[in-house]
């Protein structure tokens, strides 16, 4: 089975072949890595390559996985072949989301800095969310026009919730 895995903005084509007995051959952009991956505890993969061992804590996310290795968290986008094919046909949900301002932090909307129809610049603050006694201003990633705002001041919002949709310039 093949996957497209995105790490730090770089897309990798990854193929996984199970060799049995918790052994795998994982081919990343044509380079093969043989490894042993067992699951001693829920959510943990013990990865052995050669004589080296790592413990990887895997939490599945909406678009892939959040993997903690040696105390560092790595966010990875994971798309499988079928999703990839659907995306190529314009049917999947795997497109970028540069045009949505969202919060990774659950909280409460305390201020809207723009309204629908407003033109915004990249980096311009558009909405303020409060959590743990701290206000956080969220910014537009790219210039465009605000197409819709599905939240109102006072709303409690979940982590990952879309807050402001922006129709990018020139699209």
């Amino acid at each position: 089975m093949a996957w497209q895995i995105t790490r730090d903005g770089v897309e990798h084509t990854v193929d996984v072949e199970a060799l049995g007995d918790d052994r795998y051959r994982v081919t990343v952009d044509g380079e093969a890595h043989e490894l042993h991956a067992a699951c001693p505890e829920d959510g943990v993969l013990s990865i052995v390559r050669g004589s080296r061992r790592w413990e990887a804590d895997v939490v599945r996310t909406a678009g892939g996985a959040s993997v903690t290795v040696s105390g560092r968290r790595h966010e990875l986008g994971v798309i499988d072949e079928r999703q990839l094919a659907l995306a190529a046909l314009g049917l999947g949900g795997a497109a970028g989301n540069d045009n949505v301002v969202s919060t990774s932090m659950p909280g409460k909307v305390v201020a809207l800095l723009v309204a629908e129809g407003d033109a915004v610049q990249a980096g311009q603050g558009v909405i303020v969310v409060e959590a743990m006694k701290m206000e956080n201003e969220l910014k537009a990633a790219a210039a465009g026009v605000v197409s819709s705002i599905p939240v109102a001041v006072g709303d409690a919002v979940e982590g990952g919730a879309p807050l402001v949709y922006i129709d990018p310039d020139g699209d």
């Binding site: 089975m1 996957w3 895995i5 790490r7 730090d8 990798h12 990854v14 996984v16 199970a18 795998y24 994982v26 990343v28 890595h33 490894l35 991956a37 699951c39 505890e41 829920d42 959510g43 943990v44 993969l45 990865i47 390559r49 790592w54 413990e55 990887a56 804590d57 895997v58 939490v59 599945r60 996310t61 909406a62 892939g64 996985a65 959040s66 993997v67 903690t68 290795v69 040696s70 105390g71 560092r72 968290r73 790595h74 990875l76 994971v78 499988d80 990774s104 932090m105 659950p106 909280g107 409460k108 959590a131 743990m132 006694k133 701290m134 956080n136 982590g159």
Partner: protein, 506 residues
């Protein structure tokens, strides 16, 4: 243990790690702790740790943890003999203390009068000057004239700082290095203050060069004993928030330590203090030190003192609140070894340390020799958005400072928290950082080295993360295939049945 406990039942008017810390002290003395909680905290760790718990209102602190009247009512109804406030919330509220005492209960803390004196900057400064405690030299009152400025600055010695009386936020502030610059600096500061605040009054204060934040733990009992438990260095701060604390202070000379602790004890005696308190000082690179403020409560960083001096401060609070004398005298107290604490917060150091509440997926805590975790979390716990992001403190002890740093690196290496982001990786960087290892740092440390501390080079780990994600995706798909064809029976893999993974409908 030996003899009856000081109280039978104590209400812990707090939440989070400090509530658990206090409850542990209670249980160790044979006291039954009673928890209170807001509606958002029904499954909070401090509630789970209690065998009796009462809801006191909605999530907002003002409607729950700050409701002294409701809390006092719960204490009376549940038969508590005392209230321990922890830190924050009601811990420095003299009005609440009076209500508690009037209701016939003991308050685990100082008398309200001592709290009030120290609660106001001006009265605190005045009381400390009267008690012979050094305060930052300066006028406090606005300067009447250029001549006065020149005269006072010469008295207190350069460098000095001009500050706007109406001020704040750095406006109207000018550092002056020598007499030649003072008149023009005064003009500039006045003009800036007038523009910013509509008030051009300024005053002059000694500028403390490369200051460290060094504080002294003091303890007093109802019998009039006033002891100190040496110092803590809390100079690793970000925006006045302490991040790393250690004791002993790595640069304090024995003479300065003796002088500083003597002054702190003097301060406690001067205000008829009782219980645990902390006298904070600004410690200059030239060896001078000045009173900053006094915290009339248990401090977040009290565990490092406990580890090095070998006393239980919470138990001592409970004993002295019951009117018993301190279980140790000044001569029984010595510093042994070195302790370091870091504050683990649900926040993202890669994104400006913004708070990051959420559900903890997995949690593996370091254990073994001289590693202490004072925390309030568990796997599956939803760190709420309503309160402080600090989830836990990680405390280590070592025979030497180097030993302690080595142990903290080891402990941070064992720690795993997933689901919420934490600042643990920041502390790894601090422990590896030469300026921290040398011990020669000041309160400007984090600002000066933030870029160093955020740098990240772990190519090997990044590849492993990618491989793990790939294998996990493969296993998830295999599992889905197996579930569709239900031939396997009961022998499903543990992985497949993992609760926290099954929750995400990939």
């Amino acid at each position: 243990m030996s003899g009856a406990p000081p109280f039978k039942k104590v209400l812990v008017a707090n939440r989070g790690e400090i509530a658990l810390r206090v409850m542990r002290g209670c249980r160790e003395l044979g006291i039954e702790p009673v928890a209170v909680y807001s509606e958002a905290d029904a499954q909070a760790p401090h509630v789970r740790a209690a065998s009796e718990a009462h809801c006191i209102g909605p999530a907002a602190s003002a409607e729950s943890y700050l409701r002294g009247d409701v809390i006092l009512d719960v204490a009376l109804r549940s038969g508590c003999e005392a209230i321990h406030p922890g830190y924050g919330f009601l811990s420095e509220n003299a009005g609440f203390v009076r209500q508690v005492v009037d209701a016939g209960l003991a308050f685990v803390g100082p008398p309200p009068e001592a709290m009030e004196v120290m609660g106001d900057k001006v009265s605190a400064r005045r009381a400390m000057m009267a008690a012979g405690v050094p305060v930052v030299p300066g006028t406090a009152d606005p300067l009447e004239s250029d001549d006065e400025a020149v005269r006072v600055a010469a008295e207190i010695g350069y460098p000095v700082m001009l500050k706007a009386s109406a001020g704040g936020g750095g406006k109207g502030m000018r550092k002056v290095d020598d007499p030649s610059g003072i008149v023009s600096a005064l003009r500039g500061a006045r003009s800036e203050a007038r523009n910013a605040f509509g008030d051009d009054r300024v005053y002059v204060e000694k500028f403390v060069v490369n200051p460290r934040h060094v504080e002294v733990q003091i303890f007093s009992d109802a019998q009039g004993n006033h002891l100190h438990l040496f110092e803590r260095d809390c100079s690793i701060q970000r925006r006045h928030q302490k991040l790393v604390e250690e004791t002993p202070c790595p640069v304090l000379s024995p003479e300065t330590r003796a002088a500083m602790t003597a002054v702190a004890t003097q301060a406690a005696a001067a205000i008829d203090y009782r219980g645990a308190g902390t006298v904070e000082f600004l410690y200059g690179a030239d060896g001078s030190f000045y009173f900053l403020e006094m915290n009339t409560r248990l401090q977040v960083e009290h565990p490092i003192t406990e580890m090095v001096v070998g006393v239980d401060l919470v138990q001592a609070q409970l004993l002295t609140a019951a009117g018993l004398p301190l279980p140790w005298g000044q001569d029984d107290l010595q510093q042994r070894g070195h302790a370091i604490e870091v504050r683990l917060c649900a926040e993202d150091p890669d994104d400006g340390f913004r708070p990051a509440p959420g559900r903890i997926e997995s949690l593996r805590l370091p254990t073994g020799p001289w590693v202490r975790v004072d925390g309030a979390f568990y796997p599956g716990y939803d760190v709420p958005i309503h309160y402080d992001p600090m989830m836990a403190k990680l405390i280590v002890w070592g025979r030497t400072r180097d030993d302690a740093i080595g142990r903290m690196r080891r402990a941070l290496g064992e720690l795993v928290i997933t689901g919420v982001r934490t600042n643990a990786s920041f502390y790894r960087a601090v422990m590896d950082h030469p300026a921290f290892q040398s011990g020669r740092y000041d309160t400007g440390y984090v600002a000066a080295y933030l870029d160093d501390l955020m740098a990240d080079h772990h190519d090997d780990d990044a590849l492993v993360a990618l491989l793990a994600a790939a294998v996990d995706a493969h296993r998830a798909q295999e599992e889905r295939a197996r579930r569709v064809a239900p031939s396997g029976g009961g022998g499903g893999s543990r992985w497949a049945s993992a609760g926290r993974l099954a929750q995400v409908g990939r």
